[in-house]
Amino acid sequence: MKVRRVKNDGAALNSKLIRRPIQRWFWLFLLPTFASFCIGFVYPFLKGLFLSFCKFKTTSKWTWIGLKNYGTIFRDASFLHAFWYTALFAVVSLVIINVLAFAVAYCLTKGIKGSNLFRTVFFMPNLIGGIVLGYIWLMIFDGILSHYNTAVVLQTKYGFWGLVILMCWQQIGYMMIIYIAGLQAVPEDMLEAAKIDGASSWKTLWHITIPNVMPSITICTFLSLTNSFKLYDQNLALTNGSPFKTLADGSVIKTTEMLALNIVNSNTSNTRGPGQAKAVVFFILVAAIGLIQLTASRNKEVQQ
C-alpha cells in the first residue's frame, strides 16, 4: 500500500506482482469465507430485518404488516421490564466489576510475590461456559439460602444479586488482564518524577496512573456494557426468569428475565413477529453501544 502512494511505477509493479495474481485466485481465498458469511450472517440478517415487519409463523409464509410488531413490543410489559432490568444490571455490574478489576490489577502490578499465580487463578473462570457457571452458582446460592428456607428462584433480589456475583466472578479476571496491560504501559519516568516531587500514592494514582490507563478504562466499560446486554446463558441457567409476577391485566412478567432471554423466549410460533422486532431493537441497542465505543477509542488513538 505504501509503495503505491510513493511512486507510480511502484503501483504498476505492485498491481502486476501482487494484486492481479491474487485476484485470479478469488475463488480460493475469499469465496469460502464469503459464501459461509452469506449463509451464516448476511441472508439471515436481511431476512430477519424484513420479517420484523411481517406477521409470520414460518420463514416462507408471511404477510406484510408494517410497523405493527414494533407497536406491540413497546406495549409489551415483559419486554419493557426486561429492558429496565437489563439496564440496571448493566450499570451495577459495570461499576462493581471495573472497580474491583482495576484494584486487583493495580495491586498485581506492584510486584508482589505470586502475582502471576493470582493472575492465573482470577482469569480461570472465564474459560468456563455460561451454562455450567450458572449451575455451579445455583448450587452454591441454594446451599446458602436453604438455611433460611428460601431459594434463588423465589425472590427477584436474590436472582439479581446472584447474577451480579456470578458475573463478577467470571469477568473480573478478564477486565483485570486488560487493566494490567494498560498499567504496564504507564511511563515509568512519570511515576518516578511524581515520587521525587513527593506526591502521595493517592495523588499519583489519580493524576498519573488513571489518566494514562483511560484507554483501558474505555475498553472495559464498553465491554462490560455489551456483555451485560448480551448476557443469556448465565441468566438461563441461574433463574430462567423466575420468580414470575402476574399483572392486573393478566399478563405475566418474568422478573429476572433479561433482554436476550426475553427475545429467545418470544421465539414461539405465536409471537415470532414481535420476537423478531424485539431482536431488531436489541440489535440497534447493542450496535449503538459498539459504535460509541469505536468512536471513543478512535478519538483516543488520534490524540496519542
Binding site: 500500500m1 473462570p125 474459560l127 438461563l236
Partner: protein, 286 residues
Amino acid sequence: MKQQNGFRGERTSHTILTVVFSVIAVAYLYPIFIVLVNSLKSNAAINTATFALPNGDSFMGLQNYIKGMTFGNYPFLKSVGYSFLITVVSAVLILVCTSMAAWYISRVGSLASKIAYFMFVFSMVVPFQMVMFTLSKTADTLKLNTPFTIPVIYLGFGAGLAVFMFSGFVKSIPLEIEEAAAIDGCGPVRTFFTVVLPMLKPTLISVGVLEIMWVWNDYLLPYLVLDINEYRTIPIHIQYLRGSYGTVDMGATMALILMSIVPVIIFYLTCQKYIIKGVAAGAVKG
C-alpha cells in the same frame, strides 16, 4: 512486573497484599472445589449440607460419575465427542479460511473487497438473537444441522472478528517480502502458505484461542441448529438435564460439570500464556 521497591514500608505492605490475595485466590477457587466435593456426595447430602465434606454416610465414591455417563438417556461421552468435533473443525476452518480472506481483502483493495470488509466488521456488532430464527431455518434448509456441517455456520457467523483481527495484522506486514517472493516466481497460493501464514502465527494463536473458547462454550447456536435428541454438545446436555422437569439428580449433574471443566482447566494451564494474550488481543479490537 514493575519493581517499585525502594521506599520503606512497601515491603510490609507487599507481604500483607500477598496474604490478602492468597485468601481471595482460595475463595476464588472454592466454587470449583465445592463441585468436586458434591460430585462425590449423595443427593440428599447435597441438598441438606451443600458445603460439608463427604462423610461415611454421604460418600458415594464414583457412583455419581458412573450414573452421569448414561444420565438422561444420552451417553455423556457422545456429547464430549460432538463438542470436540465441532470445536476443532470450526476453529481450523475459521483460521484457514478467514486468514486467506483477510489477506485477499488487504492486498487487493478493490471496491468490492472494501465492501466485503465493511460487511465483516459490521457483523461484529450484531448480536446472535438478531439472526437466530432465520439462521436456524437456513441451516435446516441447507442441511447444515449436523455436527459435521455446523462448522460452516460457525465460519459464517464468526468470520467478522477473525477477518478483522487478521487484516489488522496483515496490514503491518511489509509488502516487499511478498514482492520478493513474487519476483522469485512464487504464485499467490504458495506465497500465502509459505511466506504469509508463518508470519501470521501470533494472530493465528489469538484468533484460535478466541474461537475455541467461543465454540466450546456456545449453547444457543447449536441448541437452535442441531437436532438435540440426536446431537448434543456438553452445554446442551447439561442444560437439558437441569432444565427437564421432574427431580434433578444433583450428584450426577455435579459429576458431569466437573468432567466438563477438567479439560478446559488442563487446556488453560498448558496454554495459559497464549490464552491470556489472545483474549487481551480480542478485547482491544475496538
